[in-house]
């Protein structure tokens, strides 16, 4: 277990979980958030709110839609996968069901990264941030190759990426449910091998927000005990194995997101920034802040 102990000391903020590319300190590259999670968990809403929040701070951030099934947007769409391929056309022409068609679209995107995606990402510079609104289909994040290829490509192009995994807070009612959600997020973490931020969405809809408290930064022993209480006794060892792996990897911290509360948005965004080192270079930040403090940064608007 020594390996894990040494890992733990560096993973407190969930930041160093994936191999980071070594950059020369003066050379910073654009940043991207890949917003993923189950269907309806609040990915597009998150993109909208983060976009608005940043706009109010004068921080520019572009949102790119990668969900071919999306049809309405509350954020300004900088680029849209539906310009590349249409889900309806695929369903019709390939005679596929909705799932198959979505997979087909994502494979098509994968085949067109060097032209379509590269083109959309042209012109972004140091300290720019792009958010990708992704489809709600889990196997895309747990084992399909499209997003893996995309993150590998973009990392190769010099982008610093974080995976933002969004789960609906309403589905956590006890430890067993919580563990089920953690294991989901872990599949994505394992597959995409990106720095990872877990978010519990729709916290504003909870009647009793205190139910979340034990799960935001859980005590592993307590969690194991709770699992013991709820599961058949024969699963005791399994419960403890799960709790200890979670502890070793600091895997299960979740940031609660209450969209009615700006501070909560700010905290979530801060977590994402930390995970990819956005704004780490204090000099750059200050100069930018001064430079753009009074008027909004217009330089990105021509990038479309």
């Amino acid at each position: 277990m020594n390996v894990f102990l040494s890992l733990r000391s560096t993973t407190n903020h969930g930041t160093v979980l994936s191999p980071r590319r070594a950059f020369a300190p003066t050379f910073s590259m654009p940043y991207a958030q890949l917003v993923v999670g189950p269907a309806g968990s609040g990915k597009s809403t998150y993109c909208h709110n983060v976009h608005q929040h940043c706009a109010s701070l004068g921080r520019t951030l572009s949102v790119i839609n990668l969900d071919p099934a999306a049809d309405e947007f509350r954020y300004p769409v900088t680029a849209d996968v539906r310009e590349l391929i249409s889900l309806e056309d695929v369903m019709e022409e390939e005679e596929l069901g909705p799932n198959g068609a979505l997979m087909f679209c994502m494979e098509y995107l994968e085949d067109n990264m060097d032209d379509w995606l590269a083109e959309q990402l042209e012109g972004y510079m140091e300290d720019d941030m792009v958010i990708f609104d992704c489809p709600g289909q889990l196997e895309l994040y747990s084992h399909h190759s499209a997003f893996k290829s995309m993150t590998e490509k973009m990392t190769g192009w010099g982008w610093k990426m974080v995976c933002v995994y969004i789960l609906d807070a309403q589905f956590i009612s006890d430890g067993t449910k919580f563990i089920a959600g953690c294991l989901q997020a872990q599949s994505a973490m394992l597959h995409l091998a990106l720095p990872h931020v877990n978010i519990l969405s729709k916290v504003d809809m909870l009647q009793d927000k205190s139910v979340l408290e034990p799960y935001l930064c859980p005590d592993h022993q307590r969690l194991a005990n709770e699992l013991d209480e709820r599961m058949d006794p024969k699963y005791r060892k399994l419960n403890h194995a799960i709790a200890s792996v979670m502890e070793d990897f600091a895997l299960i911290s979740f940031a609660p997101l209450d969209i009615s509360d700006e501070e909560s948005l700010q905290f979530v965004l801060y977590q994402c920034d930390c995970a990819i080192g956005y704004g780490e270079d204090a000099d750059v930040r200050t100069s930018r802040d001064v430079e753009y403090g009074d008027e909004p940064d217009m330089s990105n608007l021509s990038l479309e």
């Binding site: 309806g40 084992h143 989901q184 091998a193 399994l238």
Partner: protein, 252 residues
């Protein structure tokens, strides 16, 4: 198991395309031939064609296309929402099954490939809770054996399976499907032998392989509680074994 529970319900779950529907068709045909036709419930609102006769079909109750337009949802959201809508009336399904339990030994439930219904959303848990209150209920977790030859895909499937176990708190049987294309024996070996797993992972990034190794500790524990069978829905090989495992579980 609690006394007084009649009937065995098997909930067939698995990732999209793993072969849940084909598996059910194969098992149904086999059981019919042995004079014990099963009672089948389809929960996949987007199924285009079912190769078996469903006794209860969600598509008769919920029109998934109009859910899409009515709630302004994408296909995945619509499938989840349809499942939610149906789950609210699932007590009716349970009472029908209750009546049928005199005539049928086996009840099967086919589900959509959106496994998050059973790993995360509220509808899956409503359904499994209602079922397990009345019947001896077991999860059949179907894996795509050829796909699982990739260790990462295999790991991801296994994490889903553990997730279903915690979410539903029901016994899980792993069913390796499509063994006509690839054998499941090496995968079963992998589950029980850590050293094999490490050699499989060479070339994977350090982080992933360290995490995978320790997740493997979880799987080793999980393995202790699993029944495992291999089957080919396409050729029918392994079906007898499946039935005998189902009978074992059914006997309590």
């Amino acid at each position: 198991m609690a006394a007084g529970k009649r009937g065995n319900v098997y909930v067939v779950v698995g990732m999209a395309g793993a072969g849940k529907t084909s598996f059910l068709e194969r098992v149904a045909t086999y059981l019919e031939r042995s004079g014990k036709p099963p009672y089948i419930i389809n929960l996949d609102p987007a199924a285009m064609r079912l190769p078996y006769d469903a006794n209860i079909d969600i598509r008769d109750t919920v029109d998934y296309k109009s859910v899409m337009s009515e709630y302004c949802l994408g296909p995945n959201g619509a499938i989840l929402t349809s499942a939610n809508l149906f789950a609210t009336r699932f007590d009716k399904v349970v009472s029908i099954c209750d009546l049928r339990a005199q005539d049928y030994e086996y009840f099967f439930i086919d589900t959509p490939g959106q496994i998050e219904i059973f790993t995360w959303s509220a509808s899956g848990i409503m359904i499994t809770d209602m079922l397990s209150a009345h019947f001896r209920t077991t999860i059949l977790f179907i894996l795509d054996t050829p796909q699982c030859q990739n260790p990462q895909i295999f790991m991801s499937n296994m994490l889903q399976a553990v997730s279903v176990l915690y979410r539903s708190r029901l016994a899980v049987i792993l069913v390796f499907n499509k063994i006509d294309v690839a054998s499941h024996a090496p995968l079963v070996k992998l589950l029980s032998d850590m050293s094999l797993f490490q050699s499989e992972l060479e070339g994977v990034s350090d982080f992933s392989s360290t995490l995978t190794q320790s997740l493997h500790l979880i799987l080793q524990e999980f393995y202790e509680h699993l029944k495992i069978v291999g089957v080919s829905a396409a050729t029918g090989s392994g079906v007898e074994e499946v039935i005998s495992v189902l009978e074992d579980v059914g006997a309590g």
